[in-house]
Homo-oligomer: 268 residues x 2
């Protein structure tokens, strides 16, 4: 049986990364776990996020995944290093690919970052950007309302438009020419964010670059699999299956999806 690539996220956000991986690697099998019941991770303290991220990781590792993508910026900031050091499969996060994509797009090396409170406080993006180019200037902004808007399915609504405009106002007076969507939920708000920021600012969804890294690392470890063996994607959520299904079906254009409710941690 094909071994799957595992994806974990606090909810549906990581599906924005899955979408890009399926585009670049159409024959790979995906296992996805969204911890919707405990979403959002952003306001939680680092230790708790670290613990939750390990619970998700263990759930998928038990299902024999061949690679793990921590498709959540908050979880990447809290746990990537530790999980990478302890697992014997390749493990990647979304912060390094997002940083790489932003530096490729920027011409003035002034980069903005939108993230959850946890991601912004971790300073993981400024650190990652500076390991690539130490001359970069960074403006970070926490957008605590965005994840809930996406998880509730309201990401195309008038309320979403208003919240985006109010939240991003502080960035309008900066000189950034590139803006990282430093949370995998935010690409669902990308049209609204691009519209508000205007043409002078490139808005970066780290999904495409993360998918390239998945592809490169699978190749590096001889784990690519485009054989004709049948593929059966599986999606797991700790929250509501119908809500997960409606967002996932819309975003992935996948009419039939196998989605299972599971319990993690105390609720297990």
């Amino acid at each position: 049986m094909k071994r799957a690539i595992g994806f974990i996220d606090s909810g549906v956000g990581g599906l924005t990364v899955v979408k890009e991986v399926l585009k670049q690697l159409p024959h790979e099998q995906i296992y996805y776990l969204g911890d919707t019941a405990r979403c959002p991770y952003g306001p939680r303290d680092r230790e708790e996020v670290h613990k939750f991220t390990w619970e998700m990781t263990n759930f998928l590792v038990e299902r024999n995944i061949k690679m793990l993508v921590i498709a959540c910026n908050t979880a990447t900031a809290a746990a990537l290093k530790d999980i990478r050091a302890k697992l014997d499969i390749p493990v990647i996060g979304v912060i390094q690919p997002g940083s790489r994509a932003a530096l490729k797009a920027s011409r003035n090396n002034k980069i903005g970052i939108l993230g959850t409170i946890g991601t912004v406080q971790s300073m993981a993006y400024p650190a990652a950007l500076k390991t690539l180019n130490r001359h970069v200037e960074v403006d970070s902004l926490a957008c605590p309302k965005f994840v809930s808007i996406v998880e509730s399915g309201e990401y195309k609504s008038a309320i979403a438009k208003k919240v985006v405009a109010e939240s991003l106002l502080p960035l309008k007076s900066t000189k950034i020419d590139t803006l990282i969507l430093g949370c995998t939920h935010y690409p669902l708000l990308k049209p609204l964010i691009e519209n508000f920021m205007g043409e002078g600012v490139a808005v970066i969804n780290s999904g495409e670059e993360t998918a390239s890294e998945v592809s490169a690392l699978l190749d590096y470890h001889n784990l690519l699999d485009a054989t004709e063996e049948s593929v059966q994607h599986r999606f797991f959520t700790t929250g509501s299956v119908p809500i997960f299904r409606s967002i996932a079906a819309d975003w992935l254009s996948m009419p039939e999806m196998e989605i299972e409710h599971i319990e993690l941690g105390e609720g297990k």
Copy 2:
């Protein structure tokens, strides 16, 4: 002292990859070896290319490089697997990144490949493309005259224009929408190639995607280095230093370069 990223090529072609790496990782140190005296590799048999590639590899490994980029498609096809298996530093080639970039660009999955005789005969590109997407259709074309035009510095001349037009004619009747420059020398001819193929065909220089893979793998192995320690790039050629310098200075916009003549193999 900073450890360098090593690049090897049959001549100056790999500089097209170096250019992209310096853009994405401006503080990294580069060691580059071009085996100009034995260029072109394209018409040589696989065993000989394999031997020459190991000679270049050993020269740079002795200089304590932290990663090796086989920035030559012919050498990648002949020796990547073996070198990767035997060295304890990360080793990458240019065929997988080129394939990845092409599949990202293509809409109809009909992809053309230009390469040396050695690269085309190896079937390495069709194999790499099919490990990513088995539905891709491939048209390969050997362009044996291109490397010599580039190495002689004639890549902007009227002769170059004529040779490009004559060589690419067979591709005009295909349905490809994407064309991989499957030799690192060819990006110097890219303006002429794009002009001849017309707007409907995306021409892929694998340099940018290779640079992203360099960055991703250095991060994965904790080898990124953007510290302020001074950087001293070094370029080695088995051929003429002045000719190497004129092409490298033009292509890299690097006015002062440390270029050394060295001997490999029998001539050593």
